[in-house]
């Protein structure tokens, strides 16, 4: 088969702009699935994806489409819907020659529309503008088209107006996929090079790699090498998703499909890696490979209905399906046994928490997210730390660097003031303001990641009455005036409560922690001082007053049984607490201090 008749493309969109519905419609039109099956939105494997309206993992389906008397092979490669999965999205887009950029005509261009468009351009994919939901009464296709032209440089008259739900305009769009998008290059004669753009783990077959063959071919029983990780494997099965797994003997240059090669663990495969023939390898791997980078960290502890071994099992299970998060055991004297977990970003973290709870039916308690820092020590070494507790002694620190991101916010013009105030209070620097239309604006900021991982998104939604959307992309580490604040309970520093923050907000953050602590720690038999310290200097203090009266007035013969029960209950209450020196803190209360959700 000549590559002339192959088209590889993705659909990219902001959340809920209709990506999955369009994919369903395309599969229906190409006869791949029935109407009823389409309802299940086959591209989304996991419940949670459907509920959140986003896709966690990329998938790929192969379809046939008749056009002008020829049968084309269309490979639709799905992409995750959030830029936390920026890297996965970019790999999936690299596997395509083109992308359908879907924008909801009732919503207009949103932050992720822009972010996705940038990624597609960077990946060298041709973009076709698609305005969806044009049949809704509130649709404003003309304004949306203008926004697309203004922000993304796609001419408004070139945009396709469709309704993915009704199918309106979808055939015309498929024709455009064939006529407007280029075919893959015909490099079948060159040594084998296939890009792994996604992977998943199947209980019975092991790891399934999603690949795009760029040159040469893949054959069953071929000995292949994963160039990045340097491991060799024998291919046991090749196939395509139609959308069910359909085995084939070979995958040729330009084609998309799956590879099964006795890979047991998901962590043995990295997305972006190049597969080549072990005997006749390609000279250079395909460009763009980066190991997954975790930017956001949070501690997970067993909640009410579970314990540490169960949590560990759940994480192990989860890791089979998600190679981009990490978890290492953590033992805090205050909080007990748990895990320090690393995530690509905030949304990724939320998804992991939800999957943990849903797929394993366990509750977890999660501490406030923090970011990764770079430390340059006086010996000239640079190390990354993801826990304030790991920060070396201040005297050995030459530079402390924090991660910065390019932050894009799209909002209505009447909320600019509030958003600017919020951003300024979070050390965000406005780079530019771009009017998308008369009443919508895109603001681009340079922002410290630490300032937006915490509660920024919630505040943004509040200020904009839910209208603003944001997206961000890591740009690099920069030196900052950062300090570590320690919280002392009864004069004992509590490691689990220490934070790395910018000096300008240290006192404020510290005070907030004290207020929460004061509410969470029950009164004791003595006064408990609570302090915030930077280095040896106390910058804020509070205290928990002791209880003054707690004694049963009468205890005579007949009262013994009843009073003993009361005392035992009082004692039981204490048993569930964690000790920090002589101070007893209820574990759940401790969690509430750290919990990001309140």
């Amino acid at each position: 088969m000549s590559t002339e008749l192959i088209r590889n493309f993705s659909i990219i969109a902001h959340i809920d702009h209709g990506k999955s519905t369009l994919a369903d419609r395309i599969m229906e039109i190409t006869g791949l699935v029935s109407d009823r099956e389409a309802k299940d939105q086959l591209l989304d494997d996991m419940d949670i994806e459907r509920e959140r309206g986003i896709t966690i993992k990329a998938s790929a389906v192969t379809m046939n489409y008749e056009h002008a008397g020829k049968t084309y092979m269309l490979n639709l490669i799905d992409t995750p819907g959030h830029v936390d999965f920026h890297y996965e999205v970019s790999r999936a887009l690299t596997a395509c020659e083109g992308a359908l950029l879907v924008v909801d005509a009732t919503q207009g261009v949103q932050a992720q529309t822009v972010a996705n468009a940038y990624l597609a351009t960077e990946a060298g994919a041709e973009i076709i503008g698609v305005i969806n939901k044009v049949d809704l009464p509130s649709a404003q296709p003309e304004i949306t088209a203008e926004e697309i032209e203004h922000v993304l440089g796609i001419r408004k008259q070139d945009c396709f107006h469709i309704s993915a739900k009704s199918g309106l305009g979808v055939r015309e769009l498929l024709d455009a996929v064939v006529t407007l998008l280029p075919p893959p290059p015909d490099d079948g004669d060159k040594p084998t090079a296939a890009l792994v753009f996604d992977s998943e783990c199947d209980d019975y077959r092991g790891v399934i790699c999603y690949v795009r063959v760029f040159s040469g071919e893949l054959k069953v029983k071929q000995k292949i090498r994963f160039m990045g990780v340097g491991r060799t494997h024998l291919i046991t099965e090749l196939g395509k998703f139609t959308p069910k797994m359909s085995p084939v003997d070979r995958l040729s240059a330009g084609e998309v499909g799956y590879v099964i090669a006795n890979v047991r663990k998901l962590s043995d495969v990295t997305i972006g890696d190049t597969i080549t023939d072990d005997a006749n390898p390609t000279e250079k791997p395909l460009p763009g490979y980066v190991p997954p980078m975790q930017m956001v960290f949070s501690d997970f502890y067993p909640g009410n209905n579970t314990d540490y071994p169960n949590l560990r099992l759940a994480f192990d299970k989860l890791a089979l399906n998600d190679a981009s998060f990490s978890f290492i055991p953590q033992n805090s004297p205050a909080l007990g046994f748990g895990f320090r977990c690393g995530f690509l970003g905030l949304l990724h973290m939320e998804i992991v928490q939800e999957r943990l709870e849903r797929e394993n039916n366990i509750e977890v308690v999660q501490t406030a997210p923090t970011v990764s820092y770079e430390v340059l020590t006086t010996d000239g070494k640079t190390t990354k730390i993801d826990s304030p507790a790991d920060l070396p002694d201040v005297s050995t620190i030459e530079e402390l660097r924090e991660p910065f991101v390019r932050l894009e916010i799209i909002t209505t013009t009447d909320t600019i003031g509030g958003i600017m105030q919020l951003s300024e209070s979070r050390r965000c620097k406005l780079i530019k303001t771009d009017y998308l239309s008369q009443n919508r604006v895109m603001m681009e900021y340079k922002a410290p990641l630490a300032e937006i991982v915490y509660d920024f998104y919630d505040l943004l939604k509040g200020i904009s009455h839910g209208y603003a959307t944001m997206d961000y992309e890591f740009t690099g580490f920069e030196v900052g005036d950062l300090v570590k604040i320690n919280i002392l309970v009864n004069k004992i520093p509590v490691d689990a409560l220490s934070l790395i923050v910018h000096r300008s907000v240290a006192e404020n953050r510290g005070r907030k922690m004290l207020v929460r602590l004061r509410k969470a720690i029950p009164r004791h038999q003595f006064e408990i001082p609570l302090q915030v310290a930077i280095g040896g200097k106390i910058i804020a203090r509070e205290s928990i007053k002791p209880f003054r009266k707690d004694v049963t007035a009468k205890l005579y013969g007949g009262d013994v049984t009843r009073k003993m029960k009361v005392l035992k209950r009082q004692r039981e209450g204490k048993k569930r607490m964690k000790n920090i020196g002589a101070v007893q803190i209820p574990q759940d209360a401790f969690m509430s201090i750290l919990d990001s959700s309140d």
Binding site: V551, V560, K574
Partner: protein, 404 residues
Amino acid sequence: MDNQKFDSELCPSDRRAAGLYVHIPFCEAKCRYCGFYSEPIKNHAPQRLVSAIIRELGQYDHIEAFQTVYIGGGSPSCLPAEQLLRLIREITSHWPKPEEFTIEVNPGQVNKSILSRLRTAGVTRISIGAQSFNSDELNFLGRRHSVGDIGRAVEMARRAGFENIGLDLIFAIPPSTSLPSTMLGTGRASDSTLDSWKYSLRSAIDLDVQHISAYALTYEEGTPLQKAVEAGEVAPVDEEIDRQMYETTIDELEKAGFKQYEISNFARPGFECKHNLNYWRNLPYIGVGPAAGSYWNGKRTLNIADVKKYIDAIEQETTVTDESETPDNTQIACETAVLNLRRRCGIILDEFENQTGFDAMKLFTEPIGRYRELGLIEATDGRLFLTRDALPIADSVLCDFSTT
């Protein structure tokens, strides 16, 4: 009294009990704060109850002696004189004269004649439910007697020959509208409440009694007072004031020559209530009457808390026990520790080990260590006891001795 030893001949043994408690569950009217079992006497025939109690006493014929006897309630003094005397004569005729024979009385329910007859019948100690010397507070509590009744009752008891008279007082009563002119404070609610309490204490001291029990007002489940608090009609006294009152009590009474021997109890030397001391030693005792508790043959039991059902059970010769518990050895040790620690003398380590088989210092190593460090417990001279600082917050310490 700190190291006073109880005659080991008497106890523990199935033939001799430390104490006999008789519960008279009748009152003229129920006080708002009272959580004990009692019923208005007008709804019942007192002689039937007394007969039933006498029949229950008959079950303990095999017991040779009681060290102490205590008739409490309710209000034993609301029983008709002849019924009360019949009950007392029944006890004194069956068992040798106890070392201490106490009866609780209400100040408004006694006269010279009944007090003399009680004394003659063998009662040695009178415990008067005075509660307060502030008439507004008496009203607030729902007491039926007047401030004047208290002094008169004390005087009459003394004339009747009682040399061991105790007063019960209640502090931390929510502030009343007005105060007797003799107590002048700064006018702030907290001061007036504290002043009112100081006045009650002073008045009790001035009556030259031998024993004072001072209880912080408690809001017992199901009482009208507790409901009033829930409904927001009554605001309990601030914790800090409550504490000040308690500290004042200890200071004032000690200054006046009383010695604190238990969290809420003060006595002139030699006048500690022996009956109650035995509870805090966790010695076996017999309780008779509706709702009375016993600790006998290793079992803690509670009688039926219903006059009619109790009488029926006695008359039909079925059991009057409603609840029963047999604590194991560790539990007994814990109970003993908690009770002992309520005494200022605390746990007498030798005695504790003889009685329970456990070395208290080992059984409670963790809390002892922690609380010694906090200055809430001391261990010296073979004793382990709460410090003065621990008394107002004793429950928070004692709970750590309630289990091991």
